[in-house]
Symmetry: C2
Amino acid sequence: MTVSATTSMAARLSSREDYAGLLDKYDTWLFDCDGVLWQGDKVIDGATDVLQLLRHHKKSVLFVTNNATKSRKNYKKKFDSLGVEAHVDEIFGSAYAAAVYISSVMKLPKDKKVYVIGMSGLEEELDEEGIAHIGGTDPEDNTLGSFSLATWTPDPSVGAVVCGLDTSVNYTKLSKAFNYLTRNPGCRFLVTNEDSTYPTADGLLPGAGTVSAPLRYALGQDPTAVGKPNRTMLDCIRANVAPAARGVGDAKRGHGVNVRLPSPADRHDFDPKRTIMVGDRLNTDIEFGQVGGLSTLLVLTGITKESEITGPNVSPTVPDYVTGSIGDLRALLS
Amino acid sequence: MTVSATTSMAARLSSREDYAGLLDKYDTWLFDCDGVLWQGDKVIDGATDVLQLLRHHKKSVLFVTNNATKSRKNYKKKFDSLGVEAHVDEIFGSAYAAAVYISSVMKLPKDKKVYVIGMSGLEEELDEEGIAHIGGTDPEDNTLGSFSLATWTPDPSVGAVVCGLDTSVNYTKLSKAFNYLTRNPGCRFLVTNEDSTYPTADGLLPGAGTVSAPLRYALGQDPTAVGKPNRTMLDCIRANVAPAARGVGDAKRGHGVNVRLPSPADRHDFDPKRTIMVGDRLNTDIEFGQVGGLSTLLVLTGITKESEITGPNVSPTVPDYVTGSIGDLRALLS
């Protein structure tokens, strides 16, 4: 592999030897999904072959997505429908990470609730962790009708507001969340992720970060974010990944109130030095890898354009490696 | 009047002589409304008496509001319902200022349209200025149904997106606006105002700035804001106020495509040195006055708390004068 002057310090991969070197160097492969494995409902050419190749070589394969609209179980269905092999235990979404954070790090008392701006996937993950919640998909809060504080009875047990991508976000939800955050003492402000945009097959739409942006603006306060690029997501993976990395499959474990963040003893088979994060977005995927001390591989099938890693306006976030598409690793099959 | 050390450099008014000095010093009195003249649907004690007193002394009285949910005509109805004398020509709202800005400053070509995130008041002001618009109150855009770029036909003639407070804001409107701003070449991003919160009789709700916050976040770009504290609002008033200041009343004039920003000759009866802005919010009203070279009077019946102008965490924005309530000027009647 060669380090090209035009790609700053990122090594541009292109030959069979380049990819063989990568295969040799990393045991654990973390993949973003949208823009890396698929674009909308279309699998990236060669992605399934490459995942099979990695599994054949006994690599741990994990999927790390900021998509909080689906629970891990429902995200698994997406993999199935696209014919991409995955096990629930290999899938880490920001909704799951948020739920784990609330129960294990925040340790929200059992008599407290979460007010949700988000979709069913986020609610399902909260349910799995045994966290009481209101808002979310409740029809009463999914309305464009007017909202009045005079006729609203706030719930004093709300101890946190959590926001994920919510395509039904509206003024009633925002007003309730704002008032919980300003009136309930100690109420915490969490977001699953802060992606500014959401890629679809037909172009970009506003991302999860735009759902919490009104609250951020009204409060003049930044939320705690758990998804990529935040360390919280990696902590959540490392607390739960060891059995999955050994190929236990879908057996349910590590869920519920017993989930904890990793003690050093749990980390033996997740060596950052032998782990690589593969992603399409510099300010989520690549930063996430770098924050966690992982190596990083940028693919150009998603958000990031070639011009952001070459040319005069190059991003300050530089991945270790760049390749056009994850499918390029098929060179190893020839 | 005395300059108190605890209020930084703001002069605290309290005696009949203090208010008489003010009356003598200023010919033009600009008033914010919410939190100054009324709170929700309750008129501030003594406000109507004080306005009558000012009119009796041949002062020009103008109302300058960032509320963009109502047109000037409908805002007049609010005055009427509360029994506060006002003429349409004395009322300047940020919706009106936005419409004037689009036609007179931006000079949006007549074959271009505006995409509106806002309510009927904003649409009415655009209509008055002869500006074509879509979105806004259109039932098609007021939905919590899903939005897909695949089935949407964008309008290539959209040359600006304008956002005001919109309690029906939703993902479809935000998605369309985001795509106009990223796909239509030269499409401008305007907001009526950037208030973070909206005061009601029962407490605060998210303000107009929270409606545009998702776009600001997704685009990584700040909009052009026309309402207080921006100079644009004052330019709009000065272009239109001269006849109103002479008491012409409600006669329609200065509207339409002929509205222009002031030439120096138009400014003769609007002397900043003899003009005072009365408001309850430091970062809109008081800054607005200061940006325009006006004197400023803070009242404490709205957003700003005593602690923001005294004590250790005093705001850097210091009004010239402070009084508890506009009603205090009734001392002049005794």
